[in-house]
């Protein structure tokens, strides 16, 4: 990994009014504009929000219905190679060559990505170690478990020191230890690369993302640092202790993100701009609250 096959210089991805619809009356992505600079960008959104679509568009695996993507100011539409030669991609669903061993598969992809020949062997062994796959490097992939495949997918994305990294739901199937290892790996990488990381669980991304991009129904609801998102939520999260019958009523009127039941009382965690009831007390917000707040059915302006 330490060997760059392409000289690293500051990369910048500009996304301008990007839209994608798969068929006429359904837009998966609606008029998105963003500027991405090196750092870890966490992409959150519920299932079907358009995360994979956005990532596929950036990876040039789909053509946008309208809008454009620019790499360092240059439009990539006519020349997908611009992005492809510096891209590392882990798609949400991918297959591997089952009859190759892990090492052979990485060699194959190294050749596909044209990693400089003398770096290949070293790169691969470093990656296999980093992802804890070195014990199985000579084993056929057909014998691999889901988590091992996922790690192999991560390893191939990192091959050739790309400076745009796209991971679509990378932590699916990884056990807690591997998640921690993956995060620390990403931390190291995120310094000079654009790392795009998607998940539908915000807590997965909270600790490592420099910026969080919240998508809902194909639109950007928020794009900010975790600190700013939290700050914006300050004074909007309320803790209420009520009789169970009263709580029912609150639940229908306000956005409730947590409920705890006691003997005949109920404790609610409510998101609202103003105190929902008199007995409500303001509590410290977390990112989950921010996520629920921003993805509420009528989108709130982010900035």
């Amino acid at each position: 990994m330490s060997n760059a096959s392409f000289p690293i210089k500051e990369v910048q991805l500009g996304i301008h009014k990007l839209s994608k619809s798969y068929h006429e009356n359904h837009t998966a992505l609606n008029n998105i504009s963003l500027t991405l600079t090196p750092g870890i960008i966490g992409l959150v959104g519920s299932n079907g929000a358009g995360k994979s679509t956005l990532l596929k568009l950036i990876a040039q695996l789909e053509r946008p219905s309208s809008g454009s993507i620019q790499l360092n100011g240059q439009d990539v539409a006519g020349c997908p190679q611009l992005i492809r030669q510096r891209l590392g991609l882990l798609p949400q669903h991918f297959a591997v060559y089952e009859n190759l061993t892990a090492k052979q598969f990485l060699q194959y992809l190294a050749a596909v990505k044209q990693v400089t020949r003398k770096h290949v062997a070293q790169d691969i062994s470093e990656l296999l170690h980093a992802l804890n796959l070195h014990e199985f490097e000579n084993q056929n992939i057909s014998t691999f478990s889901g988590g091992m495949r996922q790690r192999l997918g991560i390893a191939q994305a990192l091959l050739g020191a790309p400076d745009i990294l796209i991971f679509d739901e990378p932590t699916v199937g990884l056990d807690p230890h591997e998640r921690v290892a993956f995060r620390s790996l990403l931390k190291k990488l995120g310094k000079d690369k654009i790392v795009l990381l998607s998940s539908h669980i915000i807590s997965d991304l909270a600790s490592i993302s420099d910026n969080i991009l919240v998508l809902a129904r194909g639109e950007v609801c928020a794009f900010n640092t975790p600190e700013n998102l939290l700050q914006h939520m300050e004074g909007k999260v309320w803790d209420i202790m009520l009789k169970t019958t009263e709580a029912r009523q609150i639940e229908t009127q306000f956005k409730v993100c947590d409920t705890q039941y006691f003997d005949n009382k109920t404790r609610l965690r409510v998101i609202h701009e103003t105190p929902p009831t008199k007995c409500a007390s303001s509590i410290a917000p977390n990112l989950e609250d921010a996520y629920l707040f921003y993805t509420a059915p009528c989108p709130v302006e982010a900035h």
């Binding site: 053509r63 297959a95 052979q104 992809l109």
Partner: protein, 528 residues
């Protein structure tokens, strides 16, 4: 660039030769090679010129091997190679590869080279087998390598290149066409074989030279070389064959074939970058195939709805029928209805010779595609968690039989009216055989190709050549065909049951686990 290219080719080749069906193909081709050269007293001949064949020297072995196997490779080669690229498209490995600086052209070029290499490895194995055979036969045991290589280069190498191109072309076509690609290629093959006679291949030139060299039995009789297994009542005589004269007329066809290959490859690249784009089209295609049938089924025949209501006691059968009908599009119903009405109108002979021949092909391209859909994906695993696999498969067979029966309904009614009960039973046998064969085949080989191929062979043999033994539907109205159909049914049924009773798999698994353990132990001992 070059190093990358060959590295990719090498690893891709490695991946492909580790698949079992490739080894199976190798073994088949070696077996065929051994059959081509029978002993003089074997009682059959493969290459026969009025009772003569050449002595088994390098020239005769090399050339007759090339003659026989070139048309084999043209057909089997395609069935062996096709589907890889299409499979990579659906499994999304393509998007992984093509998201790097690897272009579509490079990707297809590596696949092309791998295809050519795969076929040529088989070719070389066949030559090796033939050499061995020459040594064993001891007629003239000096081996001249060039006598084997030259006919190979002239007759087989260009064919492997052409086939590789065709396999790629059919793989990148949109899914709608791809469903029929095996059938389409069969006709392409027939066309190419016809063109070969008219000089697209050096085939006819070789044959002519061989015919001229053979001694004639009686003066005035035209020499005729026949290829194909024929029964011999007496010992085949031999003559000393010196080899083909390689002049310019032998080399022109090579150029033609290479040109044809080049044209097809160029078309493939064009299509893959444009109208049938490998990346951008694939997803919407997949999407459309998953939504369109639903639309189609909602306005398809009311008959299927009726079918569901009458067997609501059997929910599984019901669900299978629903699944089948959602996969079949409207044109299927239109064709079935036409066949129904035509069957009742035409004369009985026409019904047998024409309508049955059409009906025979219809389900091959429709119902049978469906028996594969579980095997290739992981759905089978999912389903077998809930139900025993045997009952699932039998239900599918039954459901597919009902649909096949619908295709034949007109003919069935007609035969009943005419009182031809053997024909009715024969047709019913066919309705069962088709799904049974395809389900069994996809279960064992995880592929439909073998089944379709044997089905098409039977079709040719009985519709064109009127061979009664391979008549699975009743076009020749023979009792042999009738019994063949039901015997085949019984065999397949037993195979299906035996497979689920783990008679086959148990033994394989045993060896598998055993060898795996040995490997793990070996690796462990190596690590210390």
């Amino acid at each position: 660039m070059n190093w990358y290219f060959w590295k990719i080719v090498q690893l891709d080749l490695y991946n492909r030769i580790r698949k079992t069906n490739w080894w199976f193909a190798c073994l088949c081709m070696i077996a065929i090679t051994l059959f081509i050269f029978p002993d003089s007293s074997a009682g059959y001949a493969v290459l026969d010129i009025n009772g003569y064949r050449g002595t088994y020297n390098s020239a005769w072995m090399g050339e007759s091997l090339a003659l026989v196997s070139s048309s084999f490779v043209l057909l089997f080669g395609y069935y062996l190679l096709s589907g890889f690229v299409a499979q990579e498209k659906t499994s999304q490995i393509q998007s992984l590869l093509l998201s790097s600086s690897f272009t579509i052209n490079q990707y297809l070029s590596t696949k092309f080279v791998v295809n050519v290499l795969l076929l040529n490895i088989i070719g070389i194995l066949m030559i090796a087998a033939a050499m061995l055979q020459q040594l064993i036969a001891q007629e003239q045991s000096t081996i001249y390598i060039t006598s084997y290589i030259l006919p190979y280069l002239v007759l087989i190498l260009p064919v492997t290149i052409m086939v590789s191109c065709f396999a790629l072309l059919f793989d990148i076509l949109p899914e709608k066409i791809q469903k029929y690609s095996n059938l389409i290629y069969f006709f392409v093959w027939a066309l190419l074989c016809t063109l070969n006679i008219f000089g697209l291949s050096a085939h006819s030139d070789f044959i002519r030279q061989m015919e001229q060299a053979a001694p004639s039995l009686t003066t005035g009789q035209t020499q005729h070389l026949s290829i194909g297994i024929s029964k011999l009542n007496r010992i085949q005589e031999t003559f000393n064959w010196q080899g083909v004269n390689y002049d310019i007329s032998v080399f022109i066809p090579i150029v033609l074939q290479l040109l044809l290959g080049l044209v097809i490859f160029t078309i493939t690249l064009r299509l893959a970058n444009g109208p049938c784009h490998l990346l951008y089209q694939s997803k919407s295609n997949r999407f459309s195939t998953s939504t369109n049938p639903k639309k189609a089924s909602s306005n398809s025949f009311a008959l299927t709805d009726y079918l569901f209501t009458i067997n609501s006691q059997y929910p599984l059968l019901n669900a299978e029928l629903g699944m089948l009908s959602s996969h079949l599009n409207r044109s299927f119903w239109v064709i079935a209805t036409c066949l129904f009405s035509v069957s009742l109108l035409v004369s009985l002979d026409t019904l047998r010779a024409v309508i049955l021949a059409i009906i025979w092909l219809l389900p091959v391209v429709t119902v049978c595609q469906l028996s594969m859909c579980d095997e290739r994906s992981e759905t089978a695993v999912l389903l077998s968690g809930y139900r025993n696999q045997l009952s699932l498969r039998l239900t599918r067979v039954l459901a597919a039989s009902i649909f096949t029966g619908l295709c034949c309904l007109g003919a069935l009614i007609r035969f009943v009216i005419e009182g031809e009960f053997i024909a009715v039973l024969h047709l019913l046998g066919y309705c069962l055989l088709l799904p049974l064969g395809s389900v069994t085949c996809s279960m064992i080989f995880h592929s439909q190709k073998m089944f379709q191929l044997s089905f098409l062979f039977c079709w040719i043999a009985s519709v064109v050549n009127h061979a009664p033994y391979s008549d699975l539907i009743g076009v020749t109205a023979s009792s042999q065909g009738f019994s063949a159909t039901w015997i085949a049914n019984l065999t397949l049924f037993i195979m299906l049951i035996a497979y689920h009773a783990n008679l086959f798999t148990m033994r394989c698994n045993f060896w598998y686990v055993k060898s795996k353990k040995a490997v793990v132990e070996y690796v462990k001992s190596g690590a210390h």
